[in-house]
Symmetry: C2
Subunit: 254 residues, 2 copies
Protein backbone atom coordinates (compact mmCIF):
# COMPACT_ATOMS: atom_id res chain seq x y z
CA UNK A 1 0.00 0.00 0.00
CA UNK A 2 1.33 3.41 -1.02
CA UNK A 3 1.75 5.72 1.96
CA UNK A 4 1.78 9.53 2.26
CA UNK A 5 2.72 11.03 5.60
CA UNK A 6 3.57 14.66 4.80
CA UNK A 7 0.89 17.31 4.48
CA UNK A 8 3.31 19.11 2.14
CA UNK A 9 3.17 16.25 -0.40
CA UNK A 10 2.15 17.70 -3.80
CA UNK A 11 -0.68 15.21 -4.22
CA UNK A 12 -2.13 16.23 -0.84
CA UNK A 13 -2.05 19.83 -2.04
CA UNK A 14 -3.96 18.83 -5.18
CA UNK A 15 -6.60 17.04 -3.12
CA UNK A 16 -6.96 20.04 -0.81
CA UNK A 17 -7.56 22.23 -3.84
CA UNK A 18 -10.57 20.06 -4.78
CA UNK A 19 -12.49 22.08 -2.17
CA UNK A 20 -12.41 24.96 -4.70
CA UNK A 21 -14.02 25.08 -8.10
CA UNK A 22 -10.70 26.07 -9.69
CA UNK A 23 -8.99 22.98 -8.33
CA UNK A 24 -11.80 20.70 -9.50
CA UNK A 25 -11.75 22.26 -12.95
CA UNK A 26 -8.05 21.48 -13.30
CA UNK A 27 -8.27 17.79 -12.41
CA UNK A 28 -11.92 17.19 -13.39
CA UNK A 29 -12.33 15.29 -10.14
CA UNK A 30 -13.96 15.88 -6.77
CA UNK A 31 -13.50 14.47 -3.29
CA UNK A 32 -15.97 12.19 -1.55
CA UNK A 33 -15.71 11.73 2.20
CA UNK A 34 -16.99 8.99 4.47
CA UNK A 35 -17.54 5.27 4.11
CA UNK A 36 -21.23 5.51 3.25
CA UNK A 37 -20.60 7.73 0.21
CA UNK A 38 -17.45 5.96 -0.97
CA UNK A 39 -19.29 2.65 -0.83
CA UNK A 40 -22.18 4.14 -2.84
CA UNK A 41 -19.69 5.36 -5.46
CA UNK A 42 -18.09 1.91 -5.71
CA UNK A 43 -21.46 0.17 -6.00
CA UNK A 44 -22.54 2.69 -8.64
CA UNK A 45 -19.37 1.93 -10.66
CA UNK A 46 -18.25 5.56 -10.62
CA UNK A 47 -14.81 6.27 -12.09
CA UNK A 48 -12.57 6.55 -9.03
CA UNK A 49 -8.99 7.80 -9.36
CA UNK A 50 -7.81 7.31 -5.78
CA UNK A 51 -9.01 5.97 -2.46
CA UNK A 52 -7.33 7.38 0.65
CA UNK A 53 -7.37 5.60 3.98
CA UNK A 54 -6.40 7.01 7.39
CA UNK A 55 -5.43 4.74 10.33
CA UNK A 56 -8.83 5.15 12.00
CA UNK A 57 -10.80 3.74 9.03
CA UNK A 58 -12.84 0.78 10.29
CA UNK A 59 -14.14 -1.08 7.24
CA UNK A 60 -10.95 -2.07 5.41
CA UNK A 61 -12.01 -5.67 4.92
CA UNK A 62 -15.35 -4.70 3.40
CA UNK A 63 -13.63 -2.10 1.21
CA UNK A 64 -11.04 -4.49 -0.26
CA UNK A 65 -13.85 -6.86 -1.24
CA UNK A 66 -15.49 -4.09 -3.27
CA UNK A 67 -12.52 -2.72 -5.23
CA UNK A 68 -9.16 -3.56 -6.81
CA UNK A 69 -7.93 0.04 -6.70
CA UNK A 70 -4.61 0.34 -4.87
CA UNK A 71 -5.36 2.13 -1.63
CA UNK A 72 -3.27 5.08 -0.44
CA UNK A 73 -2.54 5.26 3.26
CA UNK A 74 -2.61 8.82 4.63
CA UNK A 75 -1.69 10.20 8.04
CA UNK A 76 -4.33 11.49 10.50
CA UNK A 77 -2.98 15.03 9.91
CA UNK A 78 -3.67 14.75 6.17
CA UNK A 79 -7.15 13.36 6.85
CA UNK A 80 -7.89 16.32 9.11
CA UNK A 81 -6.80 18.75 6.40
CA UNK A 82 -8.94 17.11 3.72
CA UNK A 83 -12.00 16.62 5.91
CA UNK A 84 -15.10 18.80 6.03
CA UNK A 85 -16.17 17.27 9.34
CA UNK A 86 -14.92 17.48 12.90
CA UNK A 87 -14.49 13.74 13.27
CA UNK A 88 -13.26 12.32 9.94
CA UNK A 89 -14.13 8.68 9.27
CA UNK A 90 -10.74 8.21 7.65
CA UNK A 91 -11.78 7.49 4.07
CA UNK A 92 -11.84 9.68 0.97
CA UNK A 93 -12.23 8.94 -2.73
CA UNK A 94 -11.14 11.14 -5.61
CA UNK A 95 -13.92 10.67 -8.15
CA UNK A 96 -14.00 11.74 -11.79
CA UNK A 97 -16.60 14.41 -12.56
CA UNK A 98 -18.95 12.71 -15.02
CA UNK A 99 -19.03 14.24 -18.48
CA UNK A 100 -22.73 14.26 -19.10
CA UNK A 101 -23.81 15.83 -22.36
CA UNK A 102 -27.55 15.76 -22.48
CA UNK A 103 -29.69 17.63 -24.98
CA UNK A 104 -32.67 19.24 -23.25
CA UNK A 105 -34.91 18.03 -26.08
CA UNK A 106 -34.26 14.41 -25.08
CA UNK A 107 -35.07 14.91 -21.39
CA UNK A 108 -38.15 13.13 -20.02
CA UNK A 109 -39.74 12.87 -16.60
CA UNK A 110 -39.71 15.37 -13.75
CA UNK A 111 -36.83 17.83 -13.55
CA UNK A 112 -35.72 20.40 -11.02
CA UNK A 113 -34.17 23.60 -12.39
CA UNK A 114 -32.06 25.69 -9.99
CA UNK A 115 -31.95 29.40 -10.82
CA UNK A 116 -29.25 31.18 -8.84
CA UNK A 117 -29.57 29.09 -5.70
CA UNK A 118 -26.56 29.94 -3.55
CA UNK A 119 -26.45 27.94 -0.34
CA UNK A 120 -24.63 24.62 -0.90
CA UNK A 121 -26.54 22.89 1.90
CA UNK A 122 -29.87 23.89 0.35
CA UNK A 123 -28.73 22.72 -3.08
CA UNK A 124 -27.55 19.33 -1.88
CA UNK A 125 -30.75 18.84 0.12
CA UNK A 126 -32.84 19.67 -2.97
CA UNK A 127 -30.94 17.11 -5.08
CA UNK A 128 -31.47 14.48 -2.36
CA UNK A 129 -35.18 15.35 -2.16
CA UNK A 130 -35.53 15.25 -5.98
CA UNK A 131 -34.03 11.76 -5.87
CA UNK A 132 -36.46 10.68 -3.13
CA UNK A 133 -39.43 12.13 -5.02
CA UNK A 134 -38.55 10.16 -8.17
CA UNK A 135 -37.25 13.03 -10.30
CA UNK A 136 -35.11 12.29 -13.37
CA UNK A 137 -32.59 15.09 -13.03
CA UNK A 138 -31.52 18.51 -11.82
CA UNK A 139 -30.22 21.37 -13.99
CA UNK A 140 -27.86 23.78 -12.23
CA UNK A 141 -28.48 27.16 -13.86
CA UNK A 142 -25.72 29.65 -14.48
CA UNK A 143 -25.68 31.53 -11.17
CA UNK A 144 -26.18 28.45 -9.00
CA UNK A 145 -23.37 27.18 -6.73
CA UNK A 146 -21.20 24.40 -8.17
CA UNK A 147 -22.57 20.85 -7.95
CA UNK A 148 -19.31 19.41 -6.58
CA UNK A 149 -18.80 22.01 -3.84
CA UNK A 150 -17.88 19.90 -0.77
CA UNK A 151 -21.01 21.00 1.14
CA UNK A 152 -23.24 20.19 -1.84
CA UNK A 153 -21.62 16.76 -2.07
CA UNK A 154 -22.12 16.17 1.64
CA UNK A 155 -25.80 17.10 1.63
CA UNK A 156 -26.59 15.22 -1.61
CA UNK A 157 -25.86 12.03 0.37
CA UNK A 158 -25.00 10.08 -2.77
CA UNK A 159 -27.98 11.19 -4.87
CA UNK A 160 -25.55 12.35 -7.59
CA UNK A 161 -25.23 8.64 -8.43
CA UNK A 162 -29.00 8.25 -8.91
CA UNK A 163 -30.05 11.34 -10.89
CA UNK A 164 -28.82 13.18 -13.95
CA UNK A 165 -27.07 16.40 -12.91
CA UNK A 166 -26.47 19.02 -15.61
CA UNK A 167 -24.85 22.48 -15.52
CA UNK A 168 -26.43 24.72 -18.14
CA UNK A 169 -28.11 27.95 -19.03
CA UNK A 170 -31.76 27.26 -18.09
CA UNK A 171 -33.36 29.05 -21.03
CA UNK A 172 -32.92 26.28 -23.66
CA UNK A 173 -34.18 23.75 -21.12
CA UNK A 174 -37.33 25.76 -20.46
CA UNK A 175 -37.91 26.16 -24.18
CA UNK A 176 -37.38 22.45 -24.88
CA UNK A 177 -39.82 21.40 -22.16
CA UNK A 178 -42.48 23.82 -23.36
CA UNK A 179 -41.99 22.68 -26.96
CA UNK A 180 -42.60 19.11 -25.76
CA UNK A 181 -45.78 20.30 -24.01
CA UNK A 182 -44.28 19.56 -20.57
CA UNK A 183 -45.24 22.37 -18.17
CA UNK A 184 -42.51 24.48 -16.60
CA UNK A 185 -43.59 25.68 -13.16
CA UNK A 186 -42.07 28.77 -11.61
CA UNK A 187 -42.12 29.32 -7.87
CA UNK A 188 -42.32 33.05 -7.41
CA UNK A 189 -45.34 34.64 -5.85
CA UNK A 190 -46.95 37.14 -8.18
CA UNK A 191 -50.47 38.20 -9.10
CA UNK A 192 -50.89 35.30 -11.51
CA UNK A 193 -49.48 32.62 -9.22
CA UNK A 194 -51.60 29.54 -8.60
CA UNK A 195 -51.75 27.57 -5.36
CA UNK A 196 -49.42 24.57 -5.69
CA UNK A 197 -52.17 22.06 -4.86
CA UNK A 198 -54.45 23.23 -7.68
CA UNK A 199 -52.46 22.14 -10.73
CA UNK A 200 -52.68 18.35 -10.60
CA UNK A 201 -49.93 15.74 -10.86
CA UNK A 202 -47.62 15.39 -13.84
CA UNK A 203 -45.26 12.88 -15.42
CA UNK A 204 -43.21 15.25 -17.57
CA UNK A 205 -42.57 18.72 -16.14
CA UNK A 206 -39.98 21.04 -14.69
CA UNK A 207 -40.01 23.00 -11.44
CA UNK A 208 -37.81 26.08 -11.09
CA UNK A 209 -36.53 27.15 -7.67
CA UNK A 210 -34.94 30.60 -7.35
CA UNK A 211 -32.37 32.40 -5.24
CA UNK A 212 -32.85 32.37 -1.43
CA UNK A 213 -33.17 36.13 -1.15
CA UNK A 214 -34.18 37.39 -4.57
CA UNK A 215 -36.24 34.56 -6.05
CA UNK A 216 -36.19 33.70 -9.74
CA UNK A 217 -34.75 35.91 -12.44
CA UNK A 218 -37.42 37.97 -14.19
CA UNK A 219 -36.18 36.79 -17.57
CA UNK A 220 -36.87 33.13 -16.75
CA UNK A 221 -40.07 33.92 -14.86
CA UNK A 222 -41.49 35.36 -18.09
CA UNK A 223 -40.85 32.04 -19.81
CA UNK A 224 -42.62 29.72 -17.35
CA UNK A 225 -45.93 28.00 -18.14
CA UNK A 226 -47.38 28.90 -14.73
CA UNK A 227 -46.13 30.22 -11.39
CA UNK A 228 -46.98 28.39 -8.22
CA UNK A 229 -47.08 29.52 -4.63
CA UNK A 230 -47.42 27.78 -1.29
CA UNK A 231 -50.02 29.63 0.81
CA UNK A 232 -48.50 30.88 4.08
CA UNK A 233 -51.04 30.47 6.87
CA UNK A 234 -48.97 31.82 9.75
CA UNK A 235 -46.78 34.88 10.16
CA UNK A 236 -43.52 33.58 8.68
CA UNK A 237 -42.54 35.66 5.66
CA UNK A 238 -41.33 32.74 3.59
CA UNK A 239 -40.21 29.13 3.61
CA UNK A 240 -36.66 27.84 3.39
CA UNK A 241 -36.04 27.13 -0.31
CA UNK A 242 -35.23 23.43 0.24
CA UNK A 243 -38.39 22.93 2.31
CA UNK A 244 -40.50 24.70 -0.34
CA UNK A 245 -38.91 22.58 -3.08
CA UNK A 246 -39.72 19.41 -1.13
CA UNK A 247 -43.38 20.36 -0.68
CA UNK A 248 -43.69 21.26 -4.39
CA UNK A 249 -41.86 18.21 -5.75
CA UNK A 250 -43.86 15.69 -3.73
CA UNK A 251 -47.12 17.44 -4.65
CA UNK A 252 -46.47 17.79 -8.39
CA UNK A 253 -45.04 14.43 -9.37
CA UNK A 254 -47.40 11.70 -10.57
CA UNK B 1 -24.77 56.61 24.23
CA UNK B 2 -22.81 54.17 26.39
CA UNK B 3 -19.72 52.85 24.63
CA UNK B 4 -17.72 49.63 25.02
CA UNK B 5 -14.44 49.32 23.13
CA UNK B 6 -12.58 46.50 24.87
CA UNK B 7 -13.28 42.86 24.04
CA UNK B 8 -12.13 42.11 27.61
CA UNK B 9 -15.04 44.09 29.10
CA UNK B 10 -16.96 41.81 31.50
CA UNK B 11 -20.28 42.54 29.80
CA UNK B 12 -18.83 41.49 26.44
CA UNK B 13 -17.74 38.24 28.06
CA UNK B 14 -21.27 37.68 29.35
CA UNK B 15 -22.72 38.27 25.85
CA UNK B 16 -20.22 35.87 24.31
CA UNK B 17 -21.28 33.22 26.79
CA UNK B 18 -24.86 33.46 25.47
CA UNK B 19 -23.68 31.23 22.63
CA UNK B 20 -23.68 28.40 25.19
CA UNK B 21 -26.62 26.94 27.04
CA UNK B 22 -24.83 27.45 30.36
CA UNK B 23 -24.42 31.17 29.71
CA UNK B 24 -28.06 31.56 28.68
CA UNK B 25 -29.23 29.67 31.77
CA UNK B 26 -27.35 32.08 34.03
CA UNK B 27 -28.76 35.30 32.54
CA UNK B 28 -32.04 33.87 31.18
CA UNK B 29 -31.40 35.86 27.99
CA UNK B 30 -30.27 35.08 24.43
CA UNK B 31 -28.66 37.08 21.66
CA UNK B 32 -30.43 38.15 18.48
CA UNK B 33 -28.32 39.27 15.53
CA UNK B 34 -29.22 41.38 12.50
CA UNK B 35 -31.58 44.27 11.85
CA UNK B 36 -34.42 42.13 10.52
CA UNK B 37 -34.66 40.02 13.69
CA UNK B 38 -34.08 42.90 16.13
CA UNK B 39 -36.83 44.87 14.41
CA UNK B 40 -39.18 41.87 14.64
CA UNK B 41 -38.41 41.58 18.37
CA UNK B 42 -39.16 45.29 18.90
CA UNK B 43 -42.40 45.10 16.93
CA UNK B 44 -43.42 41.98 18.88
CA UNK B 45 -42.81 43.84 22.17
CA UNK B 46 -40.30 41.27 23.38
CA UNK B 47 -38.51 42.08 26.63
CA UNK B 48 -35.14 43.43 25.49
CA UNK B 49 -32.33 44.03 28.02
CA UNK B 50 -29.74 45.60 25.71
CA UNK B 51 -29.30 46.73 22.12
CA UNK B 52 -25.71 46.82 20.80
CA UNK B 53 -24.70 48.88 17.79
CA UNK B 54 -21.44 48.68 15.83
CA UNK B 55 -20.22 51.58 13.62
CA UNK B 56 -21.33 49.83 10.41
CA UNK B 57 -25.02 49.64 11.46
CA UNK B 58 -27.07 51.40 8.79
CA UNK B 59 -30.59 51.88 10.21
CA UNK B 60 -29.98 53.97 13.32
CA UNK B 61 -32.71 56.49 12.53
CA UNK B 62 -35.33 53.77 12.01
CA UNK B 63 -34.17 52.01 15.18
CA UNK B 64 -34.43 55.07 17.43
CA UNK B 65 -38.01 55.59 16.25
CA UNK B 66 -38.90 52.09 17.42
CA UNK B 67 -37.39 52.05 20.90
CA UNK B 68 -36.45 54.13 23.94
CA UNK B 69 -33.85 51.64 25.16
CA UNK B 70 -30.46 53.31 25.64
CA UNK B 71 -28.24 51.91 22.89
CA UNK B 72 -24.75 50.58 23.61
CA UNK B 73 -22.07 51.38 21.07
CA UNK B 74 -19.62 48.51 20.51
CA UNK B 75 -16.38 48.32 18.51
CA UNK B 76 -16.12 46.32 15.25
CA UNK B 77 -13.85 43.84 17.07
CA UNK B 78 -16.57 43.15 19.65
CA UNK B 79 -19.18 42.78 16.89
CA UNK B 80 -16.96 40.22 15.16
CA UNK B 81 -16.60 38.23 18.38
CA UNK B 82 -20.35 38.18 19.04
CA UNK B 83 -21.38 37.49 15.47
CA UNK B 84 -22.33 34.13 13.97
CA UNK B 85 -21.87 35.46 10.43
CA UNK B 86 -18.91 36.46 8.31
CA UNK B 87 -20.21 39.98 7.65
CA UNK B 88 -21.99 41.22 10.79
CA UNK B 89 -24.72 43.81 10.22
CA UNK B 90 -23.60 45.61 13.37
CA UNK B 91 -26.69 45.14 15.53
CA UNK B 92 -27.44 42.73 18.37
CA UNK B 93 -30.16 42.56 21.00
CA UNK B 94 -30.02 40.74 24.30
CA UNK B 95 -33.55 39.38 24.70
CA UNK B 96 -35.15 37.81 27.77
CA UNK B 97 -36.02 34.14 27.36
CA UNK B 98 -39.83 34.06 27.72
CA UNK B 99 -41.13 32.14 30.70
CA UNK B 100 -43.94 30.21 29.10
CA UNK B 101 -45.76 27.80 31.36
CA UNK B 102 -48.34 26.00 29.32
CA UNK B 103 -50.26 22.94 30.41
CA UNK B 104 -50.48 20.40 27.61
CA UNK B 105 -54.15 19.87 28.40
CA UNK B 106 -54.92 23.47 27.36
CA UNK B 107 -53.11 23.25 23.99
CA UNK B 108 -55.24 23.51 20.86
CA UNK B 109 -54.45 23.54 17.15
CA UNK B 110 -51.60 21.87 15.29
CA UNK B 111 -48.37 21.18 17.20
CA UNK B 112 -44.95 19.93 16.22
CA UNK B 113 -43.16 17.70 18.75
CA UNK B 114 -39.39 17.34 18.37
CA UNK B 115 -38.00 14.07 19.73
CA UNK B 116 -34.20 14.17 19.98
CA UNK B 117 -33.63 16.34 16.89
CA UNK B 118 -29.99 17.42 17.06
CA UNK B 119 -29.06 19.74 14.18
CA UNK B 120 -29.77 23.37 15.14
CA UNK B 121 -30.30 24.39 11.50
CA UNK B 122 -32.90 21.66 11.01
CA UNK B 123 -34.65 22.63 14.23
CA UNK B 124 -34.84 26.34 13.36
CA UNK B 125 -36.05 25.54 9.85
CA UNK B 126 -38.80 23.31 11.27
CA UNK B 127 -39.98 26.06 13.63
CA UNK B 128 -40.05 28.52 10.70
CA UNK B 129 -41.99 25.99 8.58
CA UNK B 130 -44.43 25.28 11.43
CA UNK B 131 -45.08 29.03 11.60
CA UNK B 132 -45.64 29.22 7.84
CA UNK B 133 -48.00 26.23 7.90
CA UNK B 134 -50.14 27.83 10.60
CA UNK B 135 -49.12 25.63 13.53
CA UNK B 136 -49.81 26.80 17.09
CA UNK B 137 -46.59 25.68 18.73
CA UNK B 138 -43.55 23.46 18.94
CA UNK B 139 -42.54 21.29 21.91
CA UNK B 140 -38.81 20.66 22.25
CA UNK B 141 -38.52 17.17 23.75
CA UNK B 142 -35.85 16.26 26.26
CA UNK B 143 -33.00 15.22 23.94
CA UNK B 144 -33.59 18.00 21.38
CA UNK B 145 -31.04 20.82 20.96
CA UNK B 146 -31.74 24.03 22.89
CA UNK B 147 -34.26 26.45 21.34
CA UNK B 148 -32.02 29.48 21.86
CA UNK B 149 -28.86 27.97 20.38
CA UNK B 150 -27.51 30.72 18.06
CA UNK B 151 -27.97 28.57 14.94
CA UNK B 152 -31.54 27.69 15.92
CA UNK B 153 -32.26 31.39 16.46
CA UNK B 154 -30.75 32.28 13.07
CA UNK B 155 -32.76 29.69 11.14
CA UNK B 156 -36.03 30.38 13.00
CA UNK B 157 -35.98 33.79 11.29
CA UNK B 158 -38.14 35.37 13.99
CA UNK B 159 -40.77 32.61 14.15
CA UNK B 160 -40.15 32.36 17.91
CA UNK B 161 -42.22 35.56 18.15
CA UNK B 162 -45.17 33.98 16.33
CA UNK B 163 -45.52 30.51 17.84
CA UNK B 164 -45.54 29.00 21.30
CA UNK B 165 -42.24 27.25 22.01
CA UNK B 166 -42.12 24.85 24.95
CA UNK B 167 -39.32 22.69 26.39
CA UNK B 168 -40.78 19.58 27.95
CA UNK B 169 -40.84 15.83 28.25
CA UNK B 170 -43.05 14.81 25.32
CA UNK B 171 -44.92 12.01 27.06
CA UNK B 172 -47.48 14.15 28.98
CA UNK B 173 -48.09 16.13 25.76
CA UNK B 174 -48.82 12.98 23.79
CA UNK B 175 -51.13 11.74 26.52
CA UNK B 176 -52.99 15.08 26.76
CA UNK B 177 -53.56 15.23 22.99
CA UNK B 178 -54.83 11.67 22.86
CA UNK B 179 -57.12 12.29 25.85
CA UNK B 180 -58.56 15.27 23.93
CA UNK B 181 -59.11 13.01 20.89
CA UNK B 182 -56.50 14.94 18.87
CA UNK B 183 -54.41 12.44 16.86
CA UNK B 184 -50.67 12.22 17.52
CA UNK B 185 -48.84 11.22 14.34
CA UNK B 186 -45.44 9.57 14.47
CA UNK B 187 -43.09 9.69 11.52
CA UNK B 188 -41.16 6.47 11.67
CA UNK B 189 -41.48 3.89 8.96
CA UNK B 190 -42.65 0.57 10.31
CA UNK B 191 -45.01 -2.17 9.24
CA UNK B 192 -48.08 -0.30 10.44
CA UNK B 193 -47.12 3.08 8.95
CA UNK B 194 -49.68 4.79 6.74
CA UNK B 195 -48.87 6.94 3.71
CA UNK B 196 -48.96 10.60 4.80
CA UNK B 197 -51.53 11.57 2.17
CA UNK B 198 -54.09 8.98 3.31
CA UNK B 199 -55.01 10.37 6.71
CA UNK B 200 -56.94 13.53 5.88
CA UNK B 201 -56.53 17.08 7.21
CA UNK B 202 -56.86 18.00 10.85
CA UNK B 203 -57.42 21.03 13.08
CA UNK B 204 -56.15 19.64 16.36
CA UNK B 205 -53.24 17.21 16.15
CA UNK B 206 -49.56 16.71 16.85
CA UNK B 207 -46.79 15.54 14.56
CA UNK B 208 -43.63 14.03 16.05
CA UNK B 209 -40.32 14.31 14.20
CA UNK B 210 -37.41 12.18 15.43
CA UNK B 211 -33.62 12.21 15.49
CA UNK B 212 -31.78 12.64 12.16
CA UNK B 213 -29.99 9.29 12.37
CA UNK B 214 -32.01 7.15 14.75
CA UNK B 215 -35.59 8.35 14.30
CA UNK B 216 -38.09 8.50 17.15
CA UNK B 217 -37.62 6.85 20.51
CA UNK B 218 -39.40 3.50 20.72
CA UNK B 219 -41.06 4.56 23.96
CA UNK B 220 -42.84 7.49 22.29
CA UNK B 221 -43.50 5.57 19.09
CA UNK B 222 -45.58 3.11 21.11
CA UNK B 223 -47.76 6.00 22.32
CA UNK B 224 -48.65 7.53 18.92
CA UNK B 225 -52.12 7.26 17.38
CA UNK B 226 -50.68 6.34 13.98
CA UNK B 227 -47.32 6.37 12.21
CA UNK B 228 -46.94 8.09 8.88
CA UNK B 229 -44.41 7.65 6.12
CA UNK B 230 -43.57 9.54 2.95
CA UNK B 231 -43.17 7.04 0.09
CA UNK B 232 -39.69 7.27 -1.45
CA UNK B 233 -39.98 6.84 -5.22
CA UNK B 234 -36.31 7.16 -6.14
CA UNK B 235 -33.14 5.67 -4.71
CA UNK B 236 -32.47 8.11 -1.87
CA UNK B 237 -32.52 6.32 1.46
CA UNK B 238 -34.32 9.05 3.32
CA UNK B 239 -35.33 12.71 3.37
CA UNK B 240 -33.73 15.50 5.36
CA UNK B 241 -35.79 15.79 8.56
CA UNK B 242 -36.72 19.45 7.96
CA UNK B 243 -37.90 18.69 4.40
CA UNK B 244 -39.93 15.70 5.62
CA UNK B 245 -41.46 17.84 8.39
CA UNK B 246 -42.43 20.49 5.80
CA UNK B 247 -44.15 17.98 3.54
CA UNK B 248 -46.03 16.43 6.47
CA UNK B 249 -47.06 19.72 8.11
CA UNK B 250 -48.47 21.25 4.92
CA UNK B 251 -50.30 18.01 4.10
CA UNK B 252 -51.83 17.39 7.54
CA UNK B 253 -53.10 20.81 8.58
CA UNK B 254 -56.66 21.82 7.74
Amino acid sequence: MKEITSTANPQVKTWKKLADKKGRKKTQTYLLEGWHLVKEALLANEAIDNILIAPNFKYLEELTKLTDIELIKISPAIATQLSETKTPQGIFAEVKIPKLSLEPTTARGAWLFLDGVQDPGNIGTMVRTADAAGFSGVVFGDKTADMYHPKVVRSMQGSQFHLKLVSSDLLPWIQAFKAAKAPVFGSELNQDARSYDQVGQHENFALIMGNEGNGMSQELLAQTSLNLYIPIKGQAESLNVAVAAGILMFQLIK
